[in-house]
């Protein structure tokens, strides 16, 4: 021991403990301040992120609205295209002279004749399955019907013939000859009946001839 020091040991220890406590408090306060600052920064970041997310959601909503509008416009365009195709199909179709040429090729000379005939060209909605027979009704389906969207619009040209034949063989030959025509899609014999035509018997018939359409709209 080479120096005199009159500071009591317990007082020095008390000062040391006080210093440690003060440093601890300072450290605690500093850590809390850091935590608070970090929390504030995180909160700010979260708020900023939320604002960004809200902005993105708004943008996304706008995009979805635009997509919806685009889809609606596409649907409208599709409807218009269908209607345009229908109109074009109705305007186009098979030429009358071609139909008569086709009928003429199938006629059996002097054994079958026509009393009346009708001609109809119209668009029909089909469910995607080709039909062998249609009643001739037009089916109009609203745009909101999803099932209708899967259906096809078909321009059908049909001809109804009321005539007479000398016998069923002549009628059968005529119908078979019609079937063999590439433009004929279907031939339906609607009605046949035997009639007395003077001294001989004859067959009166009603048939429907459905021609291949040049247009099949989607």
């Amino acid at each position: 021991m080479n120096e005199i020091d009159l500071i009591p040991r317990d007082y020095r220890n008390w000062l040391g403990q006080k210093r440690v406590l003060r440093n601890g408090v300072i450290l605690f306060v500093a850590i809390n301040a850091l935590v608070l600052a970090g929390g504030a920064w995180l909160s700010h970041s979260v708020a900023k992120g939320k604002a960004l997310a809200t902005q993105l959601q708004a943008d996304n909503a706008i995009t979805q609205q635009q997509q919806l509008q685009l889809q609606q416009m596409k649907d409208q365009q599709s409807t218009y295209e269908q209607q345009l195709a229908l109109l074009q199909g109705l305007r186009a179709g098979a030429a009358i002279e071609d139909i008569f040429t086709l009928i003429d090729r199938s006629l059996v000379a002097d054994r079958l004749w026509f009393l009346d005939w009708g001609f109809r060209r119209a668009g029909i909605i089909v469910d995607g399955q080709r039909r062998t027979y249609e009643t001739g009704y037009f089916i109009i389906v609203g745009e909101t019907n999803d099932a209708a969207k899967k259906q096809n619009l078909e321009v059908e040209t049909r001809m109804t013939i009321h005539g007479q034949a000398t016998d069923h063989q002549a009628l059968s030959s005529f119908v078979r000859a019609l079937f063999e025509q590439p433009d004929v899609r279907d031939v339906n014999v609607q009605r046949t009946s035997s009639i007395n035509l003077g001294a001989r018997r004859a067959v009166e018939f009603n048939i429907t001839v459905i021609l291949h359409s040049e247009y099949r709209g989607a």
Partner: protein
Amino acid sequence: MFRTVSVNYKSGNSAAADGAAVLNVMKNRLDGDLGDYVLDFLPVSSVSKNDERLAMVAVSEKPVIVNFLELLRKAGLDVTALEIGPVAISRLVGKMSQQCGNDNVLVINSGRRASYLTLISGTDLLFDQEVSFGENGLIQQAAEALDMPENMIRDHLQRSGVASVASGQSDLGDTMTEILKPRFLKLVDEIKRVCMYAAAETRGGAVSQVYLLGSVARWPGSESLLASLTGLDVAKVPDPLALFPAPGNDGEPQTESAAPEIAVATGASLRGVMGDE
């Protein structure tokens, strides 16, 4: 605030054993519990009689010290250690003794109320004693004897000082010296007692130098008066700053601005610098 006690104790083989021995001795010298006091001691390395050694013990009541430390702490000061004046003086004188080659040095630190005699052997603090020799008492005695105000006496002493016995000064100076001489003689008695103690503790070593510092040292001729009364070499303490070379002075000591008043402060500032040689 504190007092110093020189004690003889049986040296142990460790510092802890020495401390315990000193505490054991002090237990018989102090009233009450030792826990009520703050003690520290300086062993005197040069004095040893067989296994018995001398130590300078500084002691103070703990509440006084704690209150003082609290005052300093509340003042914003960070107290590293609580030094005592005699140790600082012994450190300064020890430094000067290395240069002057003095063996035993007596320092008279005069205050307003009392003075302190500090005996230093080499670098060891041998003895420190308070004596009832203060500036206030001297001035009061002179003022009563001359029927003059104390302020006037103080101014006169600081300006003209005291005349030595051999010197023939003015009538007032001689009168003042005669008035104060009985009190100086009491101090001389104490100095002689210390010289005897020094001889006893240092195997016949004499006090080769007496330094005077403090308030009485500022009176012109005070050191000469004491020298004439004691027959010893009495001088005002040299400029403490002379120990330190001035910056840019090629190692030459600083001689200007002599300030013996800062002797204690200079000694305290040497704590830890001298390597406790």
